[in-house]
Amino acid sequence: MKNKALNRWHLPLVFALLVLASCQHYFFRTTYDSANEMLNRSKETNQIKPFLKAHFKNGEVVIFENEWEMDSSQQYITGQGTHYDVYRKTPTYGPQKVRISTVSLFETNERLKNPEMGRIGALTVIGAADLAVGIFCIINPKACFGSCPTFYLNPNSNYHHSDAEGFSSAILPRLAYSDADALPELPATSNLEITMKNEAMETHVVRGVRLKVFPKEDGKTVLQSHDHRFYSVKNGLKPVKAEGHEGDLLPALLAADRFERFSLAHPNSMKHRETVDLEFESNASAPLGLQLHFRQTLMSTFLFYSAMDDMGDQFSDFFAEMESKGGPLLKRFQRIQKELGGIDVSVWDEEMGKWVFAGTFGEFGPIAIENQLLRLPKFKAHQRVKVRLNMNQGLWRLDAARLCTVEKEVEPLVLQPTELRDRYSGKSEQLPSTEKPLVTNPGRQVIWKFSLPSAGNQWVAFLESEGYYLEWSRSEWVKDKNIARLTQMGVSPESYFRKNAKAYKEYEKTMEREFWDSRYSEKQVVYEGR
């Protein structure tokens, strides 16, 4: 984690050091062999450095205050100052009168303009930034401390490179569910190890983790649909046109490279729809599906934490009630999510001359990038297939889009883990079940071991995890209790979205742009800068 971050900072580090190290003050001192030279040169440059030292041939020196004058006719310099003997042992302060002929060298100096100012300024700025981020993290811990179990093929990766994210919206036992995420290409070994981390201020209750794998076939792959089925697909076509209200988006959507397109929330309301139009060089003769790589921004995180913040010291009461009774309170809580919605997909039917709704992508979580398929209905298209994505502005990040030919639904080979052990102690643990789940607290990392039928790179794999998590209450939340606002969120979300748009824009400014953008320092991220 640190290594990658530091590698990224090596160049700016060296640059900053060089720039700062080179900031030195020159030319503050000038020496003159004679008073005439001092007089002439200062006339030429029309200025003289105000602090004067007259060095005598015998080693003595008179240091004048910055108030002195030269009487060129009488050949004296007079002013307030201090006379030092050759060994600098007996200073005499007072009015000084120095005969110019006894001086072997004149030295003039100018006062340095507080050279520490820049350094103190830099420290002040970084200190203020640290404080601001610290306060922000106290108020919005989820944004700073992650969420949900994160899974990694490389145990040394951090959340920026999380390969899968588990049950992000299961905030109560009664909301527990299983969630499958596509994994990147597996290593060429049949013994696969996947690290699961608890990087949040949460307790994770994991009932099970399993792999769903499919044998790889040339030119084909397997995708999970938005309704959690698996399909064999081929001929993934890149879009030839992609447009949003900000203009051309094509470069961002051509490849699943984490070069993502996202927009910032609308300034007047957090709920505001936007569209992205895609075009593919294809006709609609075969069963088609839209493959999309996407994830959420931090908007949902903001809403989730705002709600808990508003619960204040009744946080546990609300959660206990939702868990035991469910009902209206839980529905209100979930309503927010529904209000903002998913990514609605429509296709342009040329014969009917209108957009035909195809379905909705929707997956909670801002960390791992989802790779899902949405099967398109039958429609007529001659040269180009036109697809419209309709979604809430500022809620989604799009990484890549493909138009695929859907072959058939396929059933996975389900692999249960063969071993579970603690990453640090190496101690083996009992594999979890619904009755005896694995419980992890912040900082815990465990390794799931799987035995594949053959080398991992011969399989397309999905990681499915089942469980829920319990958010840890923070003392800061108690201070900001606001039941009225919480009620407004559940009862009148439209009004809530409008009233909190400004607060979210502030959050978005500091988090969305700096927090996430900083991950891709080598790549440009498209965003709409409203």
Partner: protein, 217 residues
């Protein structure tokens, strides 16, 4: 590990800041001593101390007796190329032998402690992936820049201008007794009369009177 190494490196680099024998930057115009010099000759000899004088033949340096200032700056081989004067701490180095040097003319501030604040960024959670290196870069840069402030080396200041930073810029006074030279600590023992003098001045010189600043007739 790399973060820790960089952190330690910057800390070590910055720890050399803050020599107490020099005046602060805002008092240096009243300094009656020479600048501090670290000089190395082509034979591996090294001198560190106050630059007493410099001319076309060489430099005279009063070695510091403050041990904290001479760490690793003891003599090595070829001491015969240095001239030790009157069994004091006073040395002469030939200009033709002088290879590298560094002049420090004012006391730098030690900002290294600020680097210890970088681990506080772990309170930023995941954001510390960004804020920790940023803090290290900024505080480390400031610490290094601070420790390197008020310095010239052989690239900034040619040998022939070294005398400008000597106690006796017009050359070594005739009849100077090296044993009478003391390692000056501006602002401590010998600055007391200066401070007294300033106090006297404040009492006796009315404000807004006296000659115009830097006036030339």
């Amino acid at each position: 590990m790399k973060a820790v190494k960089i952190f330690l490196l910057l800390l070590i680099l910055s720890s050399c800041a803050g020599s107490k024998v020099l005046p602060r930057y805002d008092s240096m115009n009243y300094n009656y001593y020479g600048a501090q010099i670290k000089a190395n000759d082509q034979f591996g000899n090294a001198l560190k101390g106050e630059l007493i004088a410099a001319n076309d033949s060489g430099i005279w340096v009063l070695q510091n007796f403050d041990k904290s200032q001479v760490v690793s700056w003891g003599f090595r081989d070829h001491q015969e190329n240095l001239v030790k004067i009157d069994s004091s701490n006073f040395y002469f180095m030939h200009l033709k032998d002088l290879e590298t040097y560094r002049i420090k003319y004012a006391r730098s501030k030690n900002y290294a402690k600020m680097m210890l604040l970088a681990p506080i960024t772990f309170a930023h959670g995941l954001i510390s992936v960004i804020s920790f290196p940023v803090n290290l870069i900024v505080t480390g840069s400031v610490a290094i820049a601070g420790s390197r402030a008020y310095q010239y080396n052989e690239f900034d200041l040619p040998k022939e201008d070294l005398h400008q930073f000597a106690r006796y810029p017009s050359g070594l006074p005739e009849g100077l007794n090296p044993k009478m030279l003391n390692n000056g600590v501006f602002g401590s023992n010998l600055s007391s009369p200066w401070q007294k003098a300033r106090d006297v001045k404040n009492q006796t010189t009315p404000k807004n009177e006296g000659p115009k600043r830097g006036a030339l007739e």
